[in-house]
């Protein structure tokens, strides 16, 4: 469904253009989940922004990002607007700052619905309430009128998921969705995410520096380093029999207990997907 071909992204810098993504190719099939792993600054976030057409204006790109055959890099702004939210949803890393502090949770979820569908205010609100319930927010009838500062980090991220999934997009991009959260909350958020992705049959791009998260939730994995794709394959293979030295280093950098758990989880996740 999504095919990225020879994508390069560069920014003009003081010492000539700086490439943050260098000739990356990867594909995600319908209902398939792809994990992108790498250190911060490896270009994984830029890759995801490019996919939803939200690179900063100074970015220069080459290659193509095909969504059902249409190249996102060549779409007009108007076409991109109708695509964003409707066909591609996105969840961001910082639940603290990713929500508008001046709008209630309900308004922010309903906004996307009303942007893409001709529905009335009350209908959009009812839909927002259903979505809040689906992301298992306690007491959704009250939370729908809460402002972000009145919610915990985990609740905000649930609202973030509700916003991204409001229009049942075909592809969900989650950029470090649990990194900023407490460990206990991380698991809840991942559970909700996994369940919704499975229920709705979405394709998922999950970006993380956390190999445990990648192992539990993805079918295939792309390892990125300094803008380049160093390794790509089924998650289990990549994590248990890494071919690139960089991937081996990443795994070796984990604490031993986490590494042991990784094998289990990878096996588990891979088994569950089949």
């Amino acid at each position: 469904m999504l095919a990225i071909r020879n994508l390069s992204i560069a920014f003009p810098g003081p010492a000539g253009p700086a490439r943050v993504v260098d000739d990356v190719s990867v594909a995600v099939g319908r209902g398939e989940s792809l994990g992108i792993v790498g250190e911060s600054g490896s270009g994984k976030s830029m890759l995801s922004l490019a996919t939803i057409g939200l690179l900063p204006g100074s970015a220069r790109t080459s290659g193509e990002i095909l969504l059902d055959g249409k190249d996102i890099l060549r779409l007009r702004e108007r076409e991109l607007c109708s695509l964003r939210g409707r066909r591609i949803g996105m969840i961001f890393q910082e639940p603290m700052t990713a929500l508008n502090p001046a709008m209630t949770a309900g308004q922010q979820i309903a906004e996307g619905i009303r942007l893409h569908r001709t529905v009335g205010r009350s209908e959009a609100r009812a839909e927002a309430l259903r979505l809040l319930d689906r992301v298992r927010i306690p007491d959704p009838a009250r939370r729908i009128d809460s402002y972000p500062h009145e919610m915990s980090g985990g609740q905000r991220q649930r609202v973030g998921i509700a916003i991204a999934l409001a229009l049942k997009p075909d592809l969900l991009i989650a950029d470090e969705p649990t990194t900023a959260l407490d460990v206990t909350v991380q698991k809840e958020i991942l559970d909700i995410l996994d369940e919704l992705v499975a229920d709705l049959g979405l394709s998922l791009i999950l970006i993380s520096h956390d190999l445990g998260v990648i192992a539990r939730s993805t079918d295939r994995t792309l390892v990125m380093c300094r803008g380049r794709a160093v390794e790509e394959g089924p998650t289990e293979t990549v994590l248990r029999h890494p071919s690139a030295q960089y991937t081996r280093d990443l795994i070796a950098a984990l604490p031993r207990r986490a590494r042991a758990g990784l094998g289990d989880e990878a096996r588990h996740a891979a088994g569950g997907a089949r």
Binding site: F11, P12, G13, P14, A18, V20, S40, G41, G43, S45, M46, L49, P56, S58, A59, F92, Q93, E94, D175
Partner: protein
Amino acid sequence: MTALAKVSGASFRLRRPGRAALLVGGILTAVLVGVALLSLVWTPEDPARMRILQKLKGPLVSGLLGTDHLGRDVASMLMRGAFNSLTTAFAAVGLGAVLGTLAGVAAAARAGFDAVLMRICDALFALPPILSAIMLGALLGPGALTAIVAIGVFMIPVFARVTRGAAMQIWARDYIMAARMAGKGTARITLEHVLPNIAGQVIVQVTIQLAMAILTEAGLSFLGLGLPPPAPTWGRMLAESQTYMLQAPHLALAPGLAIAAAVLGLNLLGDGLAARLDPRRRQAS
């Protein structure tokens, strides 16, 4: 997302607006001060000399910028007016900067002072300088002192707020704690550590407030609350031009442009200096 922030930040930092502002502002201000000082030793004509036969002549017909309704040379009046405007502005800002900085630093040093001083500042800030000048005018009569005190008093809260905020940031630093441990008193720490560190922000504020003072002084002399005649002021030149608006529009244009150029120069200089001296703005730009 750190990568995104870095990249977009870099593209902003490439063009440094501070430098151009500093240059243009510096030149304009230098010209203003130069002309003001020059007017003490030389002007094309005596700015107070009336030549009724030469009245209301256009620019270049008589003198560089023409003459007013009493035949006085406009260019000479503008030059001396620059001096009068600047001295009043300097005195007023000096008054506000010294008292305001003292109040601000004291408020930052002692929580006890803080509430009282800031209340007084609020009160002073609610009195626009033109209203103070009208009250002072009843007390002292119009003149330089009225203008200086009216503008200066209004600037006390301005300087107090800026220095209080800046000084509080300094007080929160670790080396202040170290100085405390070494047994230094509040006054000594203020003198040795706080004042030197906020000097940059005070200088920036002085520059910007000089521009404000020039604007206000022009307003006061426009109302007849500034220097008394025959001393030429930009404000009174504008007030007198009102009667001859159609016959001699240059009388309204020249002083207005002089005020605008002076204020623009000082504001640009202040912006340029802020980009260099003010740590808050340095981060923001």
